[in-house]
Symmetry: C2
Subunit: 566 residues, 2 copies
């Protein structure tokens, strides 16, 4: 852990980014016109990582105007189809890498979503694949670059998970999941931003500044896998890897209109990721892919699990990735958790989904009442930082790095627990898990024994909120406490003509009132995507993908890029 002054380190972090950017610019070799366009783009990055830049209001519009069509022809292709082109030799791996690198460079200038580019390593691997096209082209992910959240170990790079004191923690290995993906033909090309402490549904740190939403820079990217959400939201990565202990895959996926899977603990290797509080086992973080392409998420999951990762990571269960055909689905609809009610666009999205699914003959929809969700935060509030935040605070105090507003909010109420207090909260957790399972099975199974397949619910009380206001995790961390897998999926975007704030409203409580007031005007949230959660019992990840595919078919792809390319 470094003890240099944090401002010196912030400058150093900036120069690490800058160096990797310059190398990447050489790799992609912009022509003069594109170079000029690029230089003139408003930057979401400040002078140093202590400052914020002045991003354009709607990054994706400028992104699409800037990225050359020849690049878009590759990057906006459905990644599963791109794989076919790569295998067939229609594109070389280096061509695809250069396209995605171009896209990422432009995306990051507009949104500050990349922590560090990996041009050398990526190029080396792409060239290696091209040289061995004949023998390697049958690898399931042949030639696909992907993005990784900064906290995921990558050989030869510092892993800070948003704390400057770790800027010298150069790891000498790749995360298991990175190695597995490389063996299967995919390789990381950028490392994306994550916030201080990783414990916020936004993405701000002194290691990178602030990542802004890809649709509306006045709104948050979500977090902690904020960089992933934005980069994938702009289609500037075929897929990425995030991690989630309270909503960190789901909020950025939702706020940027893409898919994100919080997989069940024990399906994917996560144990070697970095974060604070290592060794704390009461609540565990889990990894999962983010992508605008559900097929790609499916393929990535299948590829990793087919490799038998349980022979590498002892925390995993040997459960194969297996789709089973199902004729009929029974789905619960949870409109509110009865703590914070969703905003008008979120309610509208729930209506859209209900309407579409109820038209199908094989979907039975039932109202799902949340089971005592008010028990969740009192347990998690203690177990997230069971040392009272000492470990995390030490990462700041060593360099004098200031505590950010959102981090401060997250650790508020944490207490350095003595052993029996930890056990007490663990027992509360165990009890609640058991009761919830019983509730789900006993109350919602139909008379033919068909168990509820999934529940559709909000991801957050609102669409992407304004910066520094995402102060409620209930809709996401609920499922971390229970360790239920969740797929977030896009439904629509905010509609200024339809999503008017409620004129009259009697708030349920203080936090509900806070959120009610936040949704002041649909204009504030212009163009923001509206996603929902699809939640299943433990280890039903495959089923969520299946249902997700049906939902997409019914709702249609609403993402701007998809529409445009179509």
């Amino acid at each position: 852990m470094l003890s240099d002054n944090w401002e010196v380190l912030a400058t150093k972090a900036q120069s690490i980014y800058q160096n990797s950017l310059e190398k990447s610019l050489k790799l992609v070799n912009f022509d003069k016109a594109l170079g000029q366009k690029y230089n003139e783009l408003p930057s979401a990055k400040g002078e140093t990582t202590k400052d914020y830049g002045s991003p354009t209001k709607h990054p994706f519009q400028l992104y699409l105007k800037t990225v050359p069509q020849s690049v878009l022809d590759i990057t906006e292709k459905e990644p599963v189809d791109l794989l076919t082109d790569l295998k067939n030799g229609k594109f070389t791996c280096v061509e695809v890498l250069k396209s995605y690198m171009t896209a990422a460079i432009i995306a990051s200038k507009l949104t500050n979503c990349v922590q560090e580019y990996l041009p050398d390593e990526a190029l080396e691997y792409a060239e290696y694949l091209d040289r061995n096209h004949e023998t390697m082209k049958d690898l399931p992910l042949y030639g696909l670059p992907f993005s990784i959240k900064e906290m995921i170990p990558f050989i030869g790079r510092a892993v800070t998970h948003g704390s400057l004191c770790y800027l010298d923690r150069i790891v000498d290995y790749n995360a298991d999941i990175v190695n597995i993906l490389k063996k299967n033909g995919a390789y990381p090309f950028v490392r994306t931003t994550n916030p201080q402490s990783l414990m916020m549904l936004e993405c701000v740190s002194y290691a990178h500044g602030r990542t802004v939403n890809s649709f509306n820079s006045e709104l948050t990217s979500g977090g902690s896998s904020g960089g992933e959400g934005v980069l994938n939201g702009l289609y500037a990565s075929p897929f990425g890897l995030g991690s989630d202990i309270g909503g960190s895959i789901r909020s950025p996926a939702a706020f940027n209109g893409i898919y994100g899977l919080r997989s069940t603990l024990g399906r994917l290797p996560t144990a070697d990721y970095f974060s604070c509080n290592r060794g704390s086992e009461s609540i565990l973080s889990v990894t999962g892919p983010l992508s605008r392409s559900l097929e790609t998420i499916d393929l990535v999951m299948k590829t990793i699990i087919d490799s038998k990762p349980w022979l590498i990571d002892p925390t995993l269960a040997p459960i194969e990735w297996k789709h089973t055909k199902q004729d009929k689905f029974r789905i619960g609809i949870m409109v509110s958790d009865n703590i914070v009610n969703p905003s008008p666009p979120v309610k509208r999205a729930l209506n859209i989904v209900q309407e579409k699914l109820s038209e199908l003959g094989n979907f039975e929809l039932v109202p799902f009442e949340p089971f005592q969700h008010e028990r969740t935060m009192p347990i998690l509030g203690k177990l997230y930082f069971e040392d009272g935040g000492r470990d995390f605070k030490a990462t700041l105090s060593s360099t004098g790095e200031p505590l950010l507003v959102q981090t401060s909010w997250a650790i508020d109420g944490a207490k350095d627990l003595e052993m029996h207090e930890q056990w007490y909260y663990n027992l509360e957790k165990q009890k609640y898990r058991k009761e919830y399972l019983q509730y789900w099975v006993d109350k919602y199974t139909d008379k033919d024994g068909h168990i509820l397949d999934a529940v559709i619910a909000p991801v957050f009380p609102n669409v992407a909120p304004k910066h520094e206001t995402s102060k409620y995790w209930g809709y996401t961390c609920q499922w971390n406490l229970l360790d239920y897998p969740v797929l977030v999926f896009p439904v629509t975007t905010v509609d200024e003509n339809l999503d008017h704030p409620l004129a009259e409203y009697k708030p349920l409580n203080e936090i509900d009132e806070y959120f009610y007031k936040q949704y002041d005007d649909a204009k504030s949230f212009a163009k923001a995507p509206v996603n929902l959660s699809l939640i299943g019992l433990r280890n039903t990840d495959e089923k969520l993908i299946e249902i997700g595919k049906i939902l997409r078919q019914e709702i249609g792809d609403t993402h701007f890029c998809f529409k445009k390319v179509k």
Copy 2:
């Protein structure tokens, strides 16, 4: 938690036993001759639970002389065959219950292995099954009584797990696993003894006294599932349920010459069992069956897992119980953990197994070097009692119950950890698990990619040791730390002509010297069974059963009862 004087409670515990015994005697209704025989049996139970009785030296001999042949005809039948008889109506369920109850009453007088009989509940269920023979006879375990370790919740009974202060903790539910077995036609008929704190490889408590070995009462029964080991060792139960956090299924199974399966965490419901340190999650206890019948263990596992227990217990993984045919096996032989070398009979057992398996064409045997087993106890020594034993000590101090020698030894070195210390030892555990898996896979996989299927190793440095001397857990707790499933299986019994102590020996260390000296003479261990461990990677429980079946076929059944009945 009661605060009455412990001696008063000890008397109360004795009278609970006595009452249940008297009811059971009425149920089985001994004729005059048997009644007299029974009254004259030397008792392993003292006047109160503070005293020890004066058991006969070799309980099984007297057991066989006492139990009427008509009872043995039922109790010594392979339980899987008995099931066929029950289904066919050759025996009624009540007949079978009465036979097993007779056997258990006699077994317990000789060894003090029953904590409490369940005559009323068992009879009620047996009669219910008989009345519904036609509709229920196809249940996989139709009519089979079974025994449960005292710490397993059984409705309407006090669960003490060996601490008198809990004598008023009457539970109002059955453990999930008990409910599942009942739904499948089996039902508990006795609760078996477990020791103070559950943390010893012996079985002594002020709630029952001392349980002695079924083969040689000068030796320990093993523990903590001591009562199960002995009752099943005498064939006085078709199967039983124990629990294991450091060897508690395996040592009693091994010391009494039967099979015992320490299943992988997440296969069987255990979370609702009672013990000290509830809420401590760093090292978890796991349940599993003990039986002289490997087919019964297989059937019980299959029945429970086929019931989808993961829809009841949220800690379980949805992994089906599935045997896969395998033509070739690759087995490691670990002769010593390099900390305490095994005694002569244990080494001989290893030789027998090696010899038999090497004669088979489809078994490849490789020497297996233990991977740094010296790292295990320093981690477990902290994580077993991460509160420094406070929780456990409180159970004694409330009533003044004295700390037993073996418990005292077990908690020696425990420390009330602060949160970062716990995290430190959790990380040490995680690191070791990962390195061990890598070692197993990388070092022992053959050139065709065939991973080592299992390792055969001692269960303990010796056969059942003398009372109060089982002061080394390394051969069992090693696999708890790694969460590897282990099947212990019988190989032979101590042979006075073959198993001479080593005349010359240079001990590896102090504890090795202690064990060397303990094995003073084969006569001290006369008739003691010699079992071994079969260890697999996580979730290979089925494979262990498969290999166990081949081993049995090759070694032959060595258990006295089996031989006699044959």
